[in-house]
Structure formats: structure tokens, C-alpha cells
């Protein structure tokens, strides 16, 4: 973790602490909580795309497993929520390994195709066999820690953004340590990497599992916050939304995932005035950002900042 990242993290931490005094409107608070949840999942996808050069079109599948597994564990077995979230993460990680091992052994974007199929299968299974079927189920125990329930919106926001900070610290450290360096080398030349004795496939599998675990944690937080879930929240469209966040924010840094998640979560509110054109507006924003902001907002802003700084010196 470099100094810039450290400073950015401290600023973010300060902002998170100040959430209750900045955000007074309860609706804005809800949006903040959803942004944080989406950001956790987006960071995973960011690392997968930016570092391992792979794309997942089925993150909503892991997000859904995280939500359903954690809800069912806490509702039917009465386990404490943190334990349920960990259990759900393990289930997601296992699914990720099963998907990744065969598809990453092949070159090209087989993982994208496999995840697309996986996400749809999860969606169909939740629809057909999930508790409550297509209409979902409610009365999911709220977030809690050491037996104390967290229901106050400001406290939920702290919890979610606290998780996000942990995920950021973990990811930044990881990317700056040996695995991160290996991933960056992988970007340079895959052949050179294998010649140096790096097990590329294993590394990519690990990154994919990490992204699945992040998505699963996000899903669990979502379920325990909303306390009602139905399969429609975990459709292919959600996978595309997560992809959009990452592309818009920028895949070369994990901060891109955070910024992208906040923008895309707040966007529907601004697009509401378009009414039935909102799908169209979504598509246009994604298309245009792919065409013109191909590197993403955060990397572009950082570059601008660096060049202007150099200009002053």
C-alpha cells in the first residue's frame, strides 16, 4: 500500500465516521448503504478484470448465493449473522473454484461464458427452488454483532462502509505484495511469467475466488439490511450493473470500483425523470463510457492531477 492509498483510505474513513452528521435524509442514507454494498462487490470484479484480465458476467450469482445462503442459515438454524455470512462466503468460494478450475485452464474468455451460464443457473434455481420461489421471502434477521442487532440506518451505514474499508485495505495490501506484483507481471507477459515459474492458472483462480467472496459478502449485507429478498435482485441485469460500475470507475485501480459503484447506484435517481427511457439511458451511458472513457473515471482523473502537479513544479 503506497502513501497515496493510505491518505485516500484515511479520508474515506473520516467521511464514513461523519456519515450520520453529513447525511440527514433517510432516503439518501439508504442510497449510501446500497452504494457501499455495491462497492464491495465491484472491488472484487475490479481486481479480477484489472489484474487477472478476466471478466465475470455472473457476479450476481455469487451475490445471490451470499444473500440466500446467509439468510437461510440465520433464519432456519438461528446461527449468529457474522457466522452465516462466513458460511455463505465459503459456499460462494467453493462454487467459484468449481467454475474457475476448468475454464481458466483454457485461454481466452471462457470464464466469461462459464460465469454467464452460472449466473443464469443460480437465478433459475432461486426462482424454482428458493424459499418463496419467484416472490422471495422476508423476516430475515437483521445485521448483528455479538448478539446486538444493528438496525439504526446510520449504524448499518457504518457497518457496510466499515466492511468496505476492510475490503479496501485487504485488497490494496494484496495488490502491493507478492500476489499483486505477480498479477502485474502477468499483465506484461504471460509467457515470461510462466518462464519465471509463476503458476498463472492458480493465481487467476485465486483472484476469481476472491471476487466471488467479495460479491458474497455484499449479498449477505444486502439480505440482512433489507430483510426481504427475491430472485429478481440477482438477475443477469445486476451482473451487468456491477460490470458497468467497474468499467465506468476504471479497472486499473480498486478505487475505480468504489467511485463507479457510488455513481451507478445514484444514477437511477437522476434518471427517474426519464421514466421509461431509463433502460435506454443506462445503455447509452455504458456504451459512451466504453467508447470515450475506456480507461475509466478514476485513472483519467489521477492522470490529470499528476500532470497538473508536474506542471506547477
Amino acid at each position: 500500500m503506497t502513501r497515496e492509498h493510505g491518505i485516500a483510505l484515511l479520508i474515506l474513513a473520516a467521511l464514513v465516521l461523519a456519515i450520520p452528521s453529513i447525511v440527514t435524509d433517510s432516503y439518501v442514507m439508504t442510497l449510501m448503504i446500497f452504494s457501499g454494498i455495491n462497492a464491495i462487490a465491484a472491488i472484487g470484479l475490479c481486481i479480477l478484470m484489472g489484474s487477472a484480465g478476466q471478466v465475470s458476467l455472473g457476479q450476481a450469482g455469487f451475490y445471490g448465493i451470499g444473500a440466500y445462503a446467509s439468510s437461510v442459515l440465520s433464519q432456519s438454524f438461528g446461527l449468529p449473522v457474522p457466522a452465516c455470512m462466513a458460511g455463505a462466503a465459503i459456499v460462494s468460494a467453493l462454487a467459484a473454484v468449481i467454475l474457475a478450475v476448468p475454464s481458466l485452464r483454457l485461454k481466452g474468455h471462457y470464464l466469461a461464458v462459464a460465469t454467464l451460464g452460472f449466473g443464469e443457473i443460480v437465478y433459475i434455481v432461486l426462482n424454482e427452488f428458493g424459499p418463496g420461489g419467484p416472490s422471495g421471502f422476508g423476516d430475515i434477521p437483521p445485521l448483528s454483532f455479538a448478539g446486538v442487532a444493528i438496525t439504526e440506518p446510520a449504524h448499518v451505514a457504518w457497518t457496510v462502509w466499515g466492511f468496505l474499508l476492510l475490503v479496501l485495505v485487504f485488497s490494496l495490501n494484496l495488490l502491493n505484495a507478492r500476489p499483486g506484483r505477480a498479477l502485474r507481471a502477468l499483465h506484461g507477459s504471460e509467457t515470461a511469467c510462466s518462464a519465471m515459474g509463476l503458476d498463472i492458472v492458480r493465481l487467476k483462480i485465486k483472484v476469481f475466488v476472491l471476487s466471488a467472496v467479495y460479491a458474497s459478502i455484499a449479498g449477505s449485507l444486502y439480505a440482512h439490511y433489507v430483510t426481504f429478498i427475491s430472485p429478481s435482485s440477482f438477475s443477469f441485469f445486476h451482473s451487468v450493473l456491477l460490470l458497468m460500475m467497474v468499467v465506468l470507475g476504471g479497472i486499473t485501480t480498486v478505487w475505480g470500483g468504489v467511485i463507479g459503484a457510488v455513481i451507478i447506484t445514484l444514477l437511477p435517481e437522476t434518471l427517474k425523470s426519464f421514466e421509461e427511457l431509463d433502460v435506454l439511458a443506462y445503455g447509452l451511458i455504458l456504451t459512451l463510457s466504453l467508447l470515450f472513457l475506456r480507461r475509466g473515471i478514476v485513472p483519467i482523473v489521477i492522470d490529470k492531477f499528476r500532470t497538473s502537479e508536474r506542471g506547477h513544479a
Binding site: 458476467l57 476448468p102 485461454k107 451460464g117 443457473i121 433459475i124 427511457l277 433502460v279
Partner: protein
Amino acid sequence: MTVFLQFLFSGLTVGSVYALIGMGFNIIYNATSIINLAQGEFVVIGGLLMWFFLESCNVPFFAAIGLSILSAGLIGLIMERLTIRPLRTNDLLVMTMVTIAVSIVMRGLLMFKFGKEPYSYAAFTEGDPLVIGGAVIQLQTFWVLGITAACILGLYAFFNLTMVGKAMRACSFDPTAASLVGIPVSRMIMFSFILSAVVGAVGGAAITPISLMEYDKGPMLAVKGFCAAIMGGLGRGRGAIVGGLTIGILESMTAGYLHSGLKDAVALVILLAILFFRPAGMFGNTTMQRLKGH
């Protein structure tokens, strides 16, 4: 036995549309190595435009078909010129994502124009359904099968007998060598988008009287067609036909004998199984595929 025949025919009908979508995937994949995930939207566009010309503009049948095909081709062309061509990167990831983005734009436009309700129009010919071995088969089924067969033959002739078709095949083997012998590769890529939009739209126009069409059917159709293409080995024209029909029949049998909700899962399970065990498709050569790299 009667029930079995009934399921078989309905499976063949949807299967032939999957085959058409799969061939659309192959045409673009061969020309560009892009997986065009907006392929399903072409089918929806075909069905909805056909409705628009037939019912809303009261255009005669053959003119409506011609206009739908023309408009679909134009949409394919616009898509290629506005998004794929300006990008021109080697990053297949970005290009595939652009096709997803374009598919969302198309869905948005379709929803704006046609709303969320399903559309249908009269079958191409009137008449009582045929009864074969006790199974009742609508005449439109034969239209779908016939049109699919005509598309297959047409594409075969195009790629093997015409100069443009041969040039497109040359691009798929080696774009650099193709441009060295004077083939305008970029124009061939444009043609591939037009052609695959037309193939998809024809399938959509044929199937709509049987299975209805609505603005958001695209992604599922794309996934099914993609499964068909993968099953036959991505890039192999004939493979997609076998793949599409197989998926269609298995799907209809699952819905009939097992559980209708699992219908959509069949193609996906096949997709995953093929990726895991035979990534080059049922008829492909795995080692070659791995060496080629895409």
C-alpha cells in the same frame, strides 16, 4: 408416443431459431473473434418489426418481410459503424462488453417503442394444423423449419460460391493475409454484422406467430443461441445447427416430462458441461482450439 412427437416438433421449432442465432454468432466470431451478445436483440427486432409493418402499417406480407430484413440489416450496419469500428482495439474484452452495452440500448429503444407487452401476428399461411401420428402441428412450424433450412442453404451458397462470401471466409482464416491480397477486411466485418443481424431477424419474424415476442426476450435467446454455437464448436457453421436443434429438443422434453421451470436451465447446464469437458464443441478438436488461443 403422441406426446413425444408433439414435444419433438415444438423442440425442433425453437431449436431451429437457436440454430439461426448460433449461426449469427459464428458469422461475427469468424470475422472478428468478437462474441456479439446483442445477437438475441436481432431476433426480437425481427419479430417486432414484422409486427410493426404487418399490423401497424398494414404493409402486404412480402413487403413486410423485405422491410424487416432491410431494417435489421441497417441496424447491424449502424451498430458496427458506430461502436465496433471506432473502437478497433485488439481488446476482445472491451469489444464484447460494447456488444452488451449496445444490447441494453436496443432493449431500451424497443421498450420505448413497443412497451412491455408481448406481440404476435397471424401465421404466414392459414389452414388447419396437420396431424402426424396423433401430434397436432401448426402450419407455421413448417414455415419456421423451411425458413431455417433456406437460411442454412443460402449461407452455405453465399460462403462457398460468391466472391464476397469467400473473401469473408478468407478474413476469418487470417485477416492480415486477407488484407494483403486486397480484401477490404473492415468492410467484411461490416458485412458480417449485417448478415448476422438479418439471419437473427428472419428467425424472429418466423417464430413470433408461435411463441410471441416481447422486448426483453433477447438475452435469454442470445444465451441459448450461444450455447448452440459453443456446442457445435464456436465458428463452425454446421455445428451450430446440430447444437441448436439438440438444445431445442432437450429443452422441450425437459419442460414436458420433468419440470417446465427447468426448461431454461437445460441449455446452460449443457453449456457448462461442454466448456468443462469438450471446449472445442462436440465435433471440434480440443488441442487445436487451445493452440489457437481464442
